[in-house]
């Protein structure tokens, strides 16, 4: 029987639909012309402009500060939450689980609004710190969920074996449990980092003057009009994200 061509055609259409805009964007970032519809020759001038734009550098710095610290905090807190969720089986845990799970399903706009209301009501000045708090709030949930999944697969008889072989609680944790759930922690961390890096909605609500992150900077650049520079910036972000995903996948393969 001849195999139907339809699946192939559908797949191609899907890929074109998904990736064509990105390809156009990448090509346009090397376009010498100011207008995307005209090819003005290959040029790196948008990149040059981008690199000399102080506001872009400033927002990049903000983004990285927040992403790195939010990741670090949420990895620690999220892992602890996952342990607590896994280890103790009381009725309060249902509540705990719901609390951890909710930020994953609550609309961003609601999260942003409520956080803004909270910060305003306690008179906390909006800035990097409020953004950090907001990011940690939702990153914890992702980390906790990923680590919890890993813990549920963990064979606790290994901890008994370690203890049987003379290892104290700390040694068993460090040499058996931690290495085995590390892939979960790392992927939870990468997830948190990525989410923090490109979060726009929540950040938009809780950012204050002088604390613009990259997504917010991009948004304002669109409004004040310099699309070619955004193309260049987006291309760089794309390269960065790809590299990160690739690295994390290599890391995971080695640890498991």
């Amino acid at each position: 029987m001849k195999r139907s061509r339809i699946p192939l055609i559908v797949a191609v259409i899907c890929f074109v639909f998904l990736y064509l805009p990105i390809i156009v964007l990448v090509i346009n970032s090397f376009n010498g012309s100011r207008f995307g519809s005209v090819w003005g020759g290959f040029s790196l001038k948008w990149y040059a402009r981008l690199f000399s734009d102080r506001e872009v550098w400033f927002s990049l710095r903000n983004t990285l500060i927040i992403a790195v610290s939010a990741t670090a905090l949420s990895v620690v807190l999220g892992t602890l939450a996952a342990f607590a969720l896994h280890r103790y089986k009381t009725r309060l845990q249902v509540l705990h689980y719901t609390l951890i799970y909710t930020p994953l399903v609550v609309p961003d706009i609601l999260m942003g609004m409520s956080l803004l209301l909270l910060f305003v009501s306690v008179a906390m000045p909006l800035g990097l710190f409020t953004i950090l708090l907001a990011h940690v709030t939702f990153c914890i949930s992702y980390v906790a969920m990923v680590v919890l999944a890993r813990l549920q697969d963990f064979d606790w008889s290994l901890m008994m074996a370690a203890s049987d072989l003379g290892a104290g609680p700390w040694t068993s944790f460090r040499r058996v449990l931690l290495p085995l759930i590390m892939p979960g922690i790392v992927s939870g961390g990468l997830l948190a980092f990525t989410l923090s890096l490109d979060d726009f909605v929540i950040t938009f609500f809780v950012a204050g003057p002088g604390s613009a992150t990259l997504p917010i900077q991009i948004y304002s650049m669109i409004r004040h009009g310099s699309p070619p520079m955004i193309n260049a910036l987006s291309t760089l972000l794309l390269v960065f994200t790809f590299t990160m995903v690739w690295t994390s996948q290599r890391l995971m393969r080695r640890t498991t």
Partner: protein
Amino acid sequence: MEEFLVFDKVSKSFGDVQALKNVSLSVKKGEIFSLLGPSGCGKTTLLRVAAGFERPDSGRVYLDGEDITDIPPNRRKVNTIFQNYALFPHMSVWENIAFGLKVAGMPGARITEEVNRMLALVHMEDQARKKPDQISGGQKQRVAIARALINKPRVLLLDEPLAALDLKLRQRMIIELDSIHDEVGITFLFVTHDQGEAMSLSDQIAVMNEGNVEQVGTPVQIYEAPVSSFSAAFIGDANFFEGMVSRVEGADYSRLSIEGFPEVLCFNDQPRSQGDLVYLSVRPEKVRISRDRPRDDERVNMVEGAVEDVIYLGSHTRYWVRVDQYRLAVTRQHQRFQLDEKPVTWGDSVWLSWHADDGFMLQRYEEKDEDLLAFLPEGEE
């Protein structure tokens, strides 16, 4: 030899379930001691008490005279082989075996030396760099043994170590375990539900049931002279008959009256008196089956029956013979199959006979003996 590992009146409950009821046992130095029983009999709990994973509710555990009841598992000089092996999946075979010594802070050069020695003991030298998921079940088993033995435990605890292996491999590992035991001379406490494993490996067996120790003895004692109906039924096959002591003949023998049988003579394991209610138990292979009436012998019991089923099993044949209300299992070893006489077949009327010394009496003591029906020999295993 002195008592080495001693359980003194150990009890343990999980919620409403009493897993161990006042268990006292003592294991001698250097022997292979088996805890044998059906699942849920408390044998694994007792092993975990020895390892330190469970704290008894009451009672003490002594190792070489020292009370170890309150010592945590990581500071006990005992090591465990877990049922699922519990090898560390992120470490190589080599690192798994070295784990105990590394934790103990032994210098690297000596660790290498010891690990290589253990690898040689379990014939795994060429697999040292592999991860646990790259080796077979039998090899994992060997790594688990090496990993436990490298710490030079005073007692090695084995929790159903062969349960996950297939039959052939299990038989080979039994021999291997035995030779490893001979080589290292460490006391083994071996938990199993498989009577074959327990019989072939053990110096002593403790038969456990519902949190109690029913009997402790050598494999021969347990099989030939079970003291409880549970031991008799759980280990090997046994026919059971309800009877009553009608007359005691001297110190050694009693006459029993059993419905449907002529008076049965049976050896007294313990003093009996007239009127005792007992179970008479006879192993299927101890009963002879023949077409002709055997020659009279005052020590041999005889009864006539009808063959209801014949199951040919290669090395032997099992017959099911109806005698009044009882259906007796009888096995017969083939020596010269079908050459010695006309074979016994379905519907034949036959004579069954067994020597008075081959039966044993068990006290009819509790209602739970009703449960023995669950253990009666089945048509085929």
